[in-house]
């Protein structure tokens, strides 16, 4: 009994510390006549005041969860897939490109095609990083940063060129995606795409099952912990690393398509909106334990949506970003602290 209690304590310690740090931060920055309670109230209002606000949370939750669960795969394989933002972007672009190409038609055909195209685009972009990694030993971190920048450039070129709305040369957005490819909300108030919701939930369940129950999931873990030993144990290490990046890219691609086909309805600069990077934070926060992705992504979505309410307290909404960063840092610190406190299990010799 005592052991379970200690384990629980050690499990909760990082989160507890994270919350305390965030609370202190808030108290430090709020104006004199507002309280911690006011800020929490603002977050709550931003997320749950009514159905419309709540659907805002979900709209954000969908791509963040997709990216997060994809990143769990690459983290498992010991890869830091910084390029996930670019993979989202390429996914979105492929979806948009297909939508423009196919024009009007039955959504039942066009939407699945677009989502499939998005997976392909994300996976292709990830495979560039994967190829550089396994063939030339280029760190996926560096190639990822470069590929993110290139993905942005491609977006801007497409908006300024083939996809520009009219004759204008200085467009901020592309022309709108054809209606047949648009994902629609359930209702005016509950403006959330059912397709997006279902795809996300299915993806989470599938990834969790695959990680826990398949040889591939076990291979990922082996490669992530020790590729040299994994090779000797019969794991195809190159294919495993390659496929981990591709699958993550495909999931990020779907996330990107949500931004185009649902959120914006057109292509615009930086449409991935940093969700890929946020996904990295989510996965860092939970040390790549997949089951927690939906919950933590939900918390992040609440914080982001609630952040929009902070202006009424004379606070800048970018405070949200600061809080999220502080939370992750605090939790990582506490993780390290926990590992030092907990007596290390040592081999006897």
């Amino acid at each position: 009994m005592k052991r379970t209690a200690t384990n629980l304590f050690f499990l909760a310690l990082p989160l507890l510390l994270g919350v305390i740090v965030v609370a202190i931060l808030i108290v430090l920055v709020v104006p004199p006549n507002t309280t911690l309670g006011d800020v929490l109230q603002a977050f709550w209002n931003g997320a749950f005041r009514n159905l419309r606000r709540f659907s805002g949370v979900l709209v954000f939750w969908i791509p963040l969860t997709l990216v997060g669960i994809g990143l769990v795969i690459t983290f498992r394989a010991g890869l830091w897939n910084i390029g996930v933002e670019g993979q989202m972007t390429l996914g979105g672009l492929f979806a948009a490109g297909l939508a423009f190409m196919l024009g009007e038609g039955s959504p039942l055909v066009i939407i699945p095609l677009c989502i499939f195209g998005a997976m392909l685009g994300g996976a292709l972009w990830a495979s560039v990083a994967a190829f550089l990694k396994v063939r030339f030993g280029v760190s996926e971190i560096f190639s990822g940063v470069a590929l993110n920048a290139i993905a942005n450039q491609i977006t801007l070129q497409l908006i300024a060129g083939p996809w520009k709305p009219g004759d204008s040369d200085k467009a901020q957005y592309s022309r709108p995606v054809p209606d047949a490819a648009r994902l629609l909300g359930v209702s005016q108030d509950f403006n959330v795409s059912v397709v997006g919701l279902v795809v996300t939930i299915v993806a989470v369940v599938l990834v969790l099952l695959v990680l826990a129950r398949t040889r591939w999931g076990l291979n990922l873990k082996a490669v992530g912990k020790n590729p040299r030993s994994a090779l000797l144990l019969g794991v195809p290490t190159t294919i495993t690393a390659f496929s981990a990046l591709m699958v993550c890219g495909a999931l990020a691609g779907i996330a990107g398509s949500q931004r185009i086909l649902f959120t914006y309805g057109d292509v615009r600069g930086q449409f991935a909106g940093g969700i890929g990077f946020l996904g990295l934070l989510v996965v860092l926060l939970i040390s790549a334990r997949g089951v927690w992705v939906p919950l933590i992504a939900f918390l992040f979505a609440i914080m982001l949506n609630g952040g929009t309410q902070l202006q009424f307290l004379n606070l800048d909404s970018s405070l949200t970003g600061v809080l999220q960063g502080a939370l992750v840092l605090a939790v990582l610190l506490a993780n390290g602290l926990r590992d030092r406190l907990r007596k290390p299990k040592q081999a006897k010799g």
Partner: protein
């Protein structure tokens, strides 16, 4: 300055690794610490050198009780440990590694450090070029570097864990001379943890013996091997009989192979091994055994030539294909190459045995428990592999081998194991040989090579020489060959 340990206790879970150990080490003495694997030798030495704390008990230096919180503090008290695998940083230079642990702030005086390094090297006759990256050094040199580093930090008690593994007879002599000099001139205490009784007999003034965590004996030297063995195991081991097994067809072949690694190139290597045959590879570290073995298992690509498994051309195929043909490679470093820290025993078994895409965890766990029983592994299916002792890790590696391999290619399969564990490993290997597996193994133990090999290949600077009649060869002759004697003869 004497060192006294009083009533040291240390538990790992249910294992009482050190049970009420009290012992005094006198200045100027060289003491052998003996015991089989898991007897608690390493644990005791780690406690003394600050790598882990004791559960209870005290350490007295010169009659003063000391408490220290880590290796750094132990070194400040003059106690330093030379690990079995030197703890240096490969990419950095000799000089940089030498300065680790030195007091001082952000700046460091390169010239001064180099001068001190050279002083120490001259005194002991070491050849350690200051600017060479450590990864270019031999094991013996890395050991020497660690010794001078610890001495420069003012260490007066030097603990050595299996220091003669992987170094030549000459290098061993040199090391022993240095240790004797340290004991005599500086009144240093030398503690030698070793399985090699001939080393202990050659070097030590006295020995202490641990068994199952307890101090069971102490003996002034000289003593004979059989006296020491009976102290360690409470009985004598019968000599191993040599049984020739029936040889079958050729199962693995290198044809005109051109191999290379960073240091040497080997051309026109021709080799074949038959089912049921044991081929021992002798030679100092880095003489070419490693590229040879890696080529046999398809881990390194040949620059030219062919590898054949039975009658199938395997040249250029990945290791996984070799594994599918039941050609299995076992590396020397267990946790570096072979096992995966952070994965449980069940994970390992599942990795090695799952044929399809789905993992049946219930089945894997049943299978793991069966293997734990069969191979007498002290550990549970849910334990992470790094929680097991070295000997038990080796047993798990054995359990991961297929029952009927075509060929086993094993780097130093008994490295760091005591006599009994090593025998157990060989029982397992020979059982597979009797069922028709070919075994290719390298070893730093000449005795082991002579005892178990049907054929012995001696490697020297990339040259391979086959010992003509293994049944007539001796440890002495092999020792000469390893030093390159066959090069002059031919």
């Amino acid at each position: 300055m004497n060192i006294e340990l009083r009533q040291i206790h240390k538990r790992f879970g249910s294992v009482h690794a050190n049970n009420d150990i009290s012992v005094t080490f006198a200045a100027g003495r060289i003491v052998g610490i003996l015991g089989e694997n898991g007897a608690g030798k390493s644990t005791l030495m780690k406690i003394l050198s600050g790598y882990q704390p004791a559960d209870s008990g005290e350490i007295l230096i010169g009659g003063q009780r000391v408490d220290y919180s880590g290796p750094q503090a132990a070194i400040a008290h003059g106690i330093g440990m030379l690990q079995q695998d030197p703890l240096d940083v490969g990419a950095f230079s000799v000089l940089e590694n030498f300065t680790y642990g030195q007091p001082g702030g952000l700046t460091f005086n390169r010239r001064d450090a180099e001068w001190r390094l050279n002083q120490l090297c001259q005194r002991f006759g070491f050849d350690l070029p200051a600017n060479t990256p450590v990864e270019m050094l031999s094991i013996a040199q890395r050991q020497q570097l660690e010794i001078v580093r610890l001495l420069a930090l003012g260490v007066r008690v030097l603990i050595l864990d299996e220091p003669t593994t992987g170094i030549s007879a000459d290098q061993k002599q040199q090391l022993f001379n240095v240790l004797r000099a340290l004991a005599q001139e500086m009144q240093a205490i030398i503690l030698l943890v070793s399985h090699k009784l001939e080393d202990v007999i050659a070097l030590c003034d006295e020995v202490i013996v641990l068994r199952a965590g307890q101090l069971v004996g102490a003996q002034q030297m000289p003593a004979t091997t059989s006296e020491l063995v009976s102290l360690m195991f409470g009985g004598q081991l019968p000599p191993q009989a040599r049984i020739q097994s029936h040889l079958g067809d050729v199962v693995l072949r290198l044809e005109n192979a051109h191999l290379s690694d960073r240091r040497l190139a080997m051309r026109d290597v021709n080799f074949q091994v038959r089912a049921g045959e044991v081929v021992g590879l002798a030679g100092l570290d880095g003489s070419g055994q490693r590229p040879f073995m890696r080529a046999c298992a398809g881990l390194d690509k040949l620059l030219s030539g062919r590898v054949m498994v039975k009658d199938e051309a395997m040249t250029g195929r990945p290791y996984r294909d070799f594994l599918a043909h039941k050609v299995v490679f076992g590396a020397a470093g267990r946790l570096e190459e072979g096992l995966i820290a952070g994965l449980t025993l069940t994970d390992h078994i599942a990795l090695a045995t799952t044929p399809g895409w789905a993992v049946d965890w219930a089945e894997a766990e049943r299978y793991t428990n069966a293997r734990i029983e069969q191979y007498h592994v002290r550990g549970r299916a849910t334990d992470n592999i790094e929680q097991l002792s070295g000997g038990n890790q080796q047993r798990v590696l054995m359990a991961l081998l297929p029952e009927d391999p075509v060929a086993l290619v094993l780097e130093q399969p008994t490295r760091g194991l005591d006599v009994e564990s090593a025998r157990w490993i060989w029982q397992q290997l020979l059982a597979r040989r009797d069922k028709g597996s070919a075994i290719i193994f390298s070893s730093a133990e000449l005795e082991e090579l002579v005892t178990y090999s049907d054929r012995i290949l001696v490697f020297y600077a990339g040259q391979i020489y086959e010992v003509p009649d293994v049944t007539r060869t001796s440890v002495d002759e092999l020792g000469h060959l390893i030093g390159g004697a066959f090069m002059q003869a031919t």
